[in-house]
């Protein structure tokens, strides 16, 4: 309860629905705190969903940043246990090309071992047999325990568990002001982006987990956090070229990681400083695409002839230092700011820096501080307690299902783990496919619409992979829009949604629109602008 007696019954307000915010919401609610989680768009809509999806072993940071490296390997091992439905245990190779210095390999392996990372030098010939797509001219290879992680699934699993422990979650709600009493933050003013209605929420503690947007959130509270927006662009290819993560064994540079994940693989990233005015609408430039391709082909030459599905960019929430224009050498370490101590603003904490890999640890740190401030003495259990979807195999769905094809059932179970028992499949309609590239059923879409806070088709894509496959939503977009119209009983909104989905899809495609990507898009234009007669002013 705040000084003047206002209370909503919340102990803590968490701003930001990325992995860190969702993880903090989970940790706080597991420790018995009453949580309000506020996200201005959708879960994982920022940097959380705009990276490699690499389950770092930490090897990449071993030479330059030992602290980050050892955090990574610890969290890597934890996520394999608690989030196994989000993780693919693919392993990784750090390869040395003839143009690289083979001498770096020894330093690399030594640093890995010092950080607790199981790095093993292997014969390049063996490496080629393990991963046939790798550049055949490699002169060195080191095997490390890298993997892949689905950031959308991971974030959602944290949200689901937070909700199961009493957290309230608001998506499409934007914090527009901090409510202060004197210097103390006692709550937030929030605007519902759909209805434009404004509402005040109160809690003794507010945690800023806004990623790069945390800069602005801190400013609302009167604190200055010097963030350094570093844009990273990536390309998604149409299928899995590699099954083992490929990295360059050299100092971290551009486009030197190729990660397989689900049905696709990803190359990235670039790194460039951008202004805060750009962070809401990142666009990939032709130069970045060319760089990613030319460097990517050095890891796996087959990329030169592999279809690219889309390009995207995220913004790393690095905490700035003044002497590095590229942002590469800033520590990826976790930054926890107690604004009471730092700036004399009680009731306000910022958790930032870090990376997807360390989201759980960041949440643990932030929750430890919250508990200390709120006088709660309960230990963190998130390093051992599995997330929903990664629990008991015995809870996998049984009983009558109309899904006769095993791969479809496997897709659902892979995406939702034991929660797939909640997905309707008891009749032909629920078992029929909406998205044929990714095996998404009507039942899965229904489940997402009713249980997973889906407001629009882009949200639906993050929950179910609708439209993430080769055709990038050619026909399933229209089908899903129809289902959205029924679920929300609003046709106009669903049509707007379809138009926005197509535009969002095009945003990722036009930077790489040549070859088959352009063919596919010409077809999409014919179907939607031509046959369906949709127009520019359908966009709202």
């Amino acid at each position: 309860m705040s000084a003047n007696g206002k209370s909503d019954g919340y102990d803590v307000i968490i701003i930001g629905g990325g992995a860190t915010g969702a993880g903090t919401a989970r940790d706080c609610s597991l420790r018995g705190l009453r949580v309000l989680l506020i996200e201005r768009f959708d879960f994982a809509a920022g940097a959380t969903g705009r990276n490699h999806g690499l389950l770092h072993s930490g090897a990449r940071y071993a030479v330059t940043d030992k602290e980050s490296a050892s955090e990574c390997i610890k969290e890597n091992m934890i996520l394999r246990r608690i989030a196994k439905h989000c993780v693919e245990e693919n392993d990784g190779l750090f390869i040395t090309l003839p143009e690289d210095d083979l001498g770096y390999q020894a330093t690399f392996v030594k640093s890995c071992q010092a950080a607790g990372i199981d790095a093993e030098i292997i014969d390049p010939e063996l490496a080629k047999r393990m991963e046939p797509s790798v550049n055949p001219s490699i002169i060195g290879a080191v095997k490390v325990p890298d993997g892949s992680v689905d950031p959308f699934r991971l974030t959602l699993a944290n949200v689901l568990d937070a909700k199961a422990h009493g957290a309230k979650v608001l998506v499409y709600h934007e914090v527009t002001a901090m409510i202060k009493e004197g210097d103390r933050v006692v709550g937030v003013t929030v605007v519902d982006r759909k209805t434009k209605a404004s509402h005040n929420y109160y809690a003794p503690l507010t945690i800023n987990a806004g990623g790069i947007w945390g800069h602005g959130i801190a400013a609302m509270a009167g604190a200055k956090v010097d963030m350094y927006p570093a844009k990273g662009s990536l390309l998604i290819f149409g299928h899995r070229v590699n099954n083992i993560v490929l990295n360059r064994c050299r100092k971290p540079a551009n486009a030197d990681i190729l990660v397989p994940g689900d049905t696709i693989c990803l190359i990235g990233t670039t790194s460039s400083h951008v202004g805060f005015d750009e962070v809401d609408d990142m666009r990939v430039t032709p130069d970045e695409v060319d760089l990613l391709l030319s460097e990517g082909e050095k890891l796996a030459p087959a990329l030169a002839t592999t279809r690219i599905l889309r390009a995207y960019a995220g913004v790393r929430p690095l905490v700035a230092s003044d002497d590095d224009p590229t942002g590469r050498n800033i520590s990826r370490g976790i930054v926890l700011l107690d604004h009471e101590k730092r700036d004399g603003i009680p009731g306000f904490v910022t958790i930032t820096g870090g990376k997807l890999m360390t989201y759980r640890l960041m949440a643990e740190w932030a929750t430890d501080l919250a508990c200390k401030k709120l006088g709660v003495d309960k230990p963190c259990v998130t390093m051992t307690e599995p997330l929903p979807g990664s629990r008991d195999e015995d809870e996998m769905p049984k009983g009558k299902s109309f899904i006769v094809k095993n791969p479809i059932r496997k897709s659902l179970e892979g995406r939702h783990g034991e929660l797939s028992s909640k997905i309707p499949s008891g009749n032909e309609y629920d078992a029929s496919l909406v998205c044929e590239c990714e095996d998404v059923t009507v039942g899965e879409v229904k489940y997402a619409l009713s249980e997973l806070d889906v407001n629009n088709m882009v949200d639906l894509r993050r929950r179910t992979r609708v439209g993430m496959g080769t055709c990038q939503g050619e026909l399933c977009a229209c089908r899903a829009a129809g289902m959205l119209a029924e679920a929300h009983d609003c046709t106009k909104k669903a049509k707007d949604n379809l138009a926005n989905f197509l535009n969002e899809r095009w945003k990722g495609v036009y930077p790489i629109a040549w070859g088959d990507a352009l063919r596919e898009n010409e077809y999409a234009e014919w179907v939607y602008s031509g046959v369906c007669g949709m127009k520019q002013n359908d966009l709202r």
Binding site: S432, A485, K507, E522, V531
Partner: protein, 414 residues
């Protein structure tokens, strides 16, 4: 093998050209790689709906004069109206039943239930004179249960906004239920195939009839008549009231039928249709094509007096976009395109896209240009041509058919 004319591409342009030539006794072969853009037809043919400045076109024949100089219609010039009428009568003569006039656009229904201007509409569908024709009508919108590519709610919403009263029902038959067991089978052509036996269609229609007493008009997805119009005629006679079909998401049943009907007409006239083949290489001598070689016929060359390039745009691989260029892959003809890739696109999906205008450069009578010079015996027709935006201007089908007819006449006049 020797022909008078070899046409590369078996879509709307290639077949239109082939039929006109063959009808006049010119011996033709059409080399077709497979499906064409007709397979996702809207059921209508556009002639010209918009000028480049964005203004709407009511009378395509008059408005064509205002197009810019590179547009294929400019090469047809005064003869545009003549060729538009010829295209329509050739379609009807082949068995593609269409209504519409080049002098006045009508409206077609889209799968979203909206109305868009068009020129010719297949008899499956209703061509509306304007947007007010639905006011006061009672419409029963019928879907086949489980068919996701026909969006009843969107259609009802759009019709209601035009003053109609709508009810939605879903019907199912054992034959369509069987399709649903495999989750990828509920596509328009598969449903059309399931409904082909007369007993199945009769069962469906009696179900619809029993539910349609209230309605003035029955609205159905276009899943009837995959190979001919007989199921449509039968349906109309049984239901006994106005039936309005709405196009589905692709593949398009009327489009597939049109492709089949045109191909049959061409073959009936004696034309040779080589399905599943494509041109591998060509011999060029003295500024003209001496022979072409196909994948299926290997070193056994195909010769003709004239060749027609009707290979379509990117989708049909008539044009191939590379990261730094756009090429015509069969003969290496000159392609008009923007040199900087950033100029190929607009960042909004629905805005005008630069790449849509790219295509093969031709001289005044559609002879394809290579290295700056027109090849003497190679013509180009249809969406492989440069200088128009089929979507923004709504002129794709018109350019395909009119340029094809024009080229056929040029070839015959020698």
């Amino acid at each position: 093998m020797k022909f008078d004319v070899v046409i590369i591409g078996g879509g709307l342009a290639g077949l239109t050209c082939g039929i006109r030539l063959q009808k006049n006794g010119v011996k033709c072969a059409v080399i077709s790689a497979g499906q064409s853009a007709l397979h996702f037809s809207s059921g209508s043919f556009d002639l010209l709906n918009k000028l480049p400045d964005g203004s709407d076109v009511d009378c395509p024949v008059e408005a064509a004069g205002k197009l810019d100089a590179l547009h294929p219609y400019k090469k047809i010039g005064e003869l545009l109206g003549f060729y538009a009428d010829e295209a329509k009568s050739q379609l009807i003569g082949c068995g593609v039943d269409v209504v519409g006039e080049a002098g006045a656009n009508t409206y077609r229904i889209t799968p979203m239930g909206t109305l868009r201007p068009t020129w010719l509409t297949m008899s499956d569908f209703t061509a509306f004179p304007d947007g007010n024709s639905l006011s006061g009508k009672k419409l029963l919108i019928v879907n086949i249960a489980g068919f996701l590519d026909f969006n009843t709610k969107f259609i009802a919403d759009s019709f209601e906004s035009r003053g109609a009263e709508c009810r939605i029902v879903a019907v199912s038959l054992p034959e369509t239920e069987r399709l649903r067991l495999s989750p990828t089978e509920m596509r328009a052509p598969n449903i059309a195939r399931a409904l082909e036996p007369e007993t199945v269609l009769a069962a469906l229609l009696s179900e619809i009839k029993s539910r349609s007493e209230w309605a003035d008009c029955v609205v159905l997805p276009a899943v009837f008549g995959l190979s001919d119009l007989a199921p449509l005629d039968y349906m109309r006679s049984v239901i006994g009231k106005k039936v309005c079909l709405v196009p589905t998401m692709p593949p398009s049943v009327p489009g597939i039928r049109t492709q089949l009907v045109l191909r049959r007409a061409f073959e009936r006239m004696g034309g040779v249709f080589m399905l599943g083949d494509s041109v591998a290489k060509a011999d060029l001598k003295n500024g003209e094509i001496a022979a072409i070689y196909t994948e299926n016929h290997g070193d056994y060359g195909i010769k003709a007096h004239c060749y027609v390039l009707a290979t379509g745009s990117y989708f049909s691989k008539g044009l191939v976009a590379r990261p730094d260029s756009v090429v015509e892959p069969v003969f290496g003809c000159d392609v008009d395109y923007e040199k900087k890739r950033a100029d190929w696109y607009d960042s909004s999906f629905f805005a005008r896209q630069g790449y849509m205008r790219f295509g093969v450069v031709t001289d005044d009578c559609f002879r394809a240009v290579k290295n700056g010079k027109a090849l003497a015996n190679l013509y180009a027709a249809g969406s492989v041509l440069c200088g128009f935006d089929a979507l923004q201007q709504g002129c794709g089908a018109g350019v395909s058919m009119l340029s094809a007819l024009y080229v056929a006449d040029k070839i015959m006049k020698g």
